[in-house]
Amino acid sequence: MYRYDEFDHAFVSERVEQFRDQVQRRLAGELAEDAFKPLRLMNGVYLQLHAYMLRIAIPYGTLSARQMRMLAHIARTYDRGYGHFTTRQNLQFNWPKLSEIPDALADLASVEMHALQTSGNCIRNVTADHFAGAAADEIADPRPYAEILRQWSSVHPEFSFLPRKFKIAVTGAERDRAAIQVHDIGLHLKKNDKGEIGFAVYVGGGQGRTPMIAKLIRDFLPEEDLLSYTTAIVRVYNLHGRRDNKYKARIKILVHETGAEELTRQVEAEFASLRDSELKLPEQDVEAIAAYFALPDLPQRAEGWENLARWKKADPAFARWVQQNVQPHKNPDYGMVTISLKPIGGIPGDATDAQMDAIADLAEEYAFDEIRVSHEQNLILPHVALADLEAVYRGLVAIDLAEANAGLITDIIACPGLDYCALANARSIPLAQEISRRFGSAERQAEIGELKIKISGCINACGHHHVGHIGLLGVEKKGAELYQITLGGSGDEHTSIGEIIGRGFEPDRVTDAIETIVDTYLGLRLDPSEIFLAAYRRVGPQPFKAALYGSAAEAA
């Protein structure tokens, strides 16, 4: 894991003091709310429906046990004893007092954390594959590049007042687990014929009210050009992105209106004059950062195979959990463990202070001190010996986080919705809870297989409904909540935007509609290995429309 040096330490503490001064001026009435707003947003402070909200950055989703314990401490000290892990690999606290936030930020700084640029019209927290450094299918670890981008983008003097927010994601494996094609910039690490590292560069993806899949503008960008090329893209965007309408201000609209070819030309022209500047990355600097992310020294634990077989035989619930929540690691004696933050009937992504402390203990004892936050609102222990899986499982059972549902129908992504968010039109949490309860039986979930449900309480799509196999979008019609259903979305290396299936459903009819969709799928799949998304792509929307709305004519 990256460890701050003196420079980083000085920077974050200076930043905390700078913000403390801004908060004091705000509280003294010297700074008007409209001028304070961009300043607080760049420090992760929102003003929500009921209170301020503090969004803490977890760069590329990587945490140590010490950092997790500090998050628990903040939940206890400045909030109501819990936090919410988000699809941006951040953690949100919903109830802090503005006057105490500088203290919370100082506490964070003491464990090398911050809330910088988790909001506002700047370059946001850089996200990455949550299995980075551990996945068997990895070409290169994306985190060193995400860390370099984190540093470069922090309090960037040219890019702190962009037309809109700007999100970068990096992935380094064959399978895209960072949803790079729905980001403003998506970077896909690859190796060329000579074995050199570079990036495929995608630009202009995004969800929200105008979902778009990013365009590939560079097939292979050499590693040394990462910062100059990114600077070129963001500069073109800063100068030419629309500012007349905040709903058309993201770079995806610029790409769409300018055309990918012309935009590429502008970026390449800008890059031509930047490529030999001070932004060029020396190999030794990249290597030095990469060294922080070296795989821990994993001792041979071959006994795990035999133990695991025995434990699985003795305890079917444990066997199910291993089957669903443990993925193959680069090292065959190890596994990558998903801690589901989706207990049946629970609030997706929420964790209490006690749970955070307990996870920190498990990470320290069994997982080389590493924890990840996934964009699917789960936590990951990326390196666990098979021989320790049983102990980890028992530890998770004790804190009610051993649900064996990673990737299954109850592993639902949901935004906070109308219960917390000032933008939402509809609730997300109660809907997620009801669906989770309806499909909660382990047998039923296993029968259905991989199925991703994603719920957003408004058109801004924080719940990523556009890329859900089944997406639910809460809308408000004549004062009542209604949910639109989309089918066939996906946020992986074959990204697709879901299609709206027909007219929306009232809150009390949504779960039935999901059940109808699921039953229709079970009836038409070729065999259990054909997952919902594959079946939908094969047959199209018609059978689902017919099942939901009767005759085709009724379907909107």
Partner: protein
């Protein structure tokens, strides 16, 4: 009340005026011309010591042939959330090599002054009361550690090539 501030302090008798229907440059004053106006004037005369006002949507690269004849370029921040002038300033200093006065005009707030300085702006038209007060006390809310090279000269920071450290105030 707008005052001009430079790192050396507030400037008296600044001659530059943004002309409007009501306000015209008179006596010792000189107008900051719009980009088209500046180009027209420069093309039809041999005048030097000119001043220009770059609006957010202007293409600053059009100034290239006229830079040696400019005493000042003003870049406009019409609102605190319109950051195009940060890129204009970067392009002027880094790409076009402009070295004379570069001024921020419009919504110049104290918390943005340090960022403006880093992209090469060295003169500020300030009317915000808090900004005026803090500048008069020389209390800039700047962070001396930077994670990226920028226009303003800074010392290499420890560790990585992209880091910079502000030079201590003279």
């Amino acid at each position: 009340m707008t005052k001009i501030w430079r790192e050396t302090g507030f400037v008296d008798n600044d001659p530059w005026v943004i002309e409007t229907d009501e306000v015209k440059a008179s006596g010792e004053q000189k107008p900051l011309l719009g980009l088209d106006e500046l180009i027209a004037k420069a093309d039809e005369s041999n005048d030097v010591g000119l001043g220009v006002l770059i609006k957010p949507a202007d293409d600053v690269r059009r100034l290239e042939p006229y830079l040696s004849r400019l005493d000042i370029v003003a870049v406009a921040f019409p609102a605190f959330n319109d950051g195009r002038a940060f890129s204009h300033a970067s392009l002027l200093r880094q790409r076009l090599g402009y070295t004379n006065e570069l001024r921020a005009v419009g919504d110049v707030l104290i918390d943005q002054v340090p960022l403006m300085q880093r992209v090469g702006i060295d003169s500020f038209a300030v009317s915000n009361a808090t900004a005026l007060k803090r500048l008069s006390e020389n209390r800039l809310p700047a962070i001396p550690h930077h994670y990226q090279p920028a226009v303003r000269d800074a010392e290499a920071g420890k560790g990585y090539s992209w880091r910079r450290q502000a030079k201590p105030a003279a």
